[in-house]
Amino acid sequence: MRTGWTGYAWAIGATLAATLAGFAMRGRFDLVNIAMVYLLAVVLVALYQSRGAAIAASVLCVAAFDVLFVPPEGTFTVHDAQYLLTFAIMLGVGLIVSRLVERVRRQAREQALLEIEAETERIRSALLASISHDLRTPLAVVAGASSTLVESGERMLPEARQALARSVFDQSHELSERVSKLLQMTRLDTGAIKVERDWTAMADVADSAVRRMSDRLAAHRLMVEIPADLPLVRVDAALIEQALGNLLENAAKHTPPGTIVRLRAKTDGQRLVLTVEDHGGDAADVDLERMFRKFQHGSMEGAAGGVGLGLAICRAIVRLHGGDCWAERTLGGGMTFRISLPLERPPEMPAETPYEAADGPATDDPRR
């Protein structure tokens, strides 16, 4: 570790402090106790500062102790040979402590690196597993259904043919969604995403997300509650729409058809909070934090499928905006997801001038 100026400043400071303590103790305590105070100073510097600073502290303390306290005072001359041992021990303790500290620090660093590597490895293998399973499943359906159409489409009933063609269409869409999510997560991870903020009406974002997810939510009872006087937010609308869409998709996937999914927005003056609340499935043993990790398929995962990135992407997008995204349990079963976004004061907009308003022929008076 490099020895910065602060390390040496610490060495000097510790020596000064020990010296002051030593002066206060002089006369009432044995010299050996004063030596202990210096030793404490050396140990403290060795614990919190670099090895170089520890050596400097040892040398300074030994010098100060010798000159100021060991008779004859005011000189480096040492009459009693036993103080030489004191000096050696002080230096030795300083070196040993700083060495130990260094080793512990290095181990901590190595441990942290190992953990990062393990996490990277987990994500890498999850990515491979995800690609091989989550992408191959829809591909298998596409290949199977389309080959059936090619081989024996002629002999099939029109409805059966239609159903096969439909599943090719649906599964290819699903495949595309999954590939987009993998790409999006990679772009979020590598910082390749530029947030293009602009004043946005949450009603627009909600409407767009709901429309995009309408097929998936068709079997659910979706309720949208957005107050008319909600303030504008300055966000990247396309990204927030994605985040919200992922929450809606998540609700659709993990709850039985016919259940209610509620999308709400409200504000407390500081933040705007979007809530997606579902009322299905047993959420009792769901890990509310873990579900936001990459490639986590929720514990309610059955045939629901997906790459397990929806929530991770949602949270990453929201955090890019200085907001947060978290999960709670819905009272009476199900999950509630919230997105909170910081509010800014929107710029003023001039009201339409009365002159201008009068200029149009439109009027409240129907007789005109």
Partner: protein
Amino acid sequence: MDPRPTILVVEDEPEIRRFLRSSLEAEGYRVAESATARRGVIDAGTHKPDVVIVDLGLPDFDGVEVVRQIRRWSTLPILILSARTQERAKIDAFEAGADDYVTKPFGIRELLARIKVALRHAARPQAGGAVLRFDRAVVDLERRTATRDEEALHLTPIEFRLLAALARHLGLVVTHRQLLVEVWGPSHAGDTHYLRIYVKQLRDKLEPDPLHPRHLVTEIGVGYRLVCSD
């Protein structure tokens, strides 16, 4: 001469060109193909297509550039094919003059609907003087009157101007910037919050359910689209 409308497809992937050709021909269109951007710009001049479909990811130069070059001499409708990851390029294409877009992967029904709107728009450009019919409201842009359930409805001059700007591209996407410049002037091109507030006002007045607008449709991150019979 062939009476069928001609569609020029500028797309480098042969598989996509093939599927578009068979689907569009089945619907009664004549199809011309260009595999590169350069070729596409030339073919748009020589084939005299009624609609051009441009893929945004072309090998030689950008699809946005194709839109820009065609717009130098023609107002013919241009649809773009974009991927979900090309949001920025999509906006650039609209700024360059594209009229509408379809996101890959798309179903043919969606593409056909967009082509129909584009052709209708090309057949009578500047239909801005028309009467716009919403579910329960009617707006006469020329006479500047509006009613809802037979009752007179007050629209402000800016609201009329915004509707007119959207109606000039009826059924097509109009970007935020385009709307701001047309309604408030070039110095307000970045004042998106004006637009948000007025769109909300218009929805409150004209939409049967303002939370689920069917006529003033949001194209997230891009602009708005006015959908109504006229």
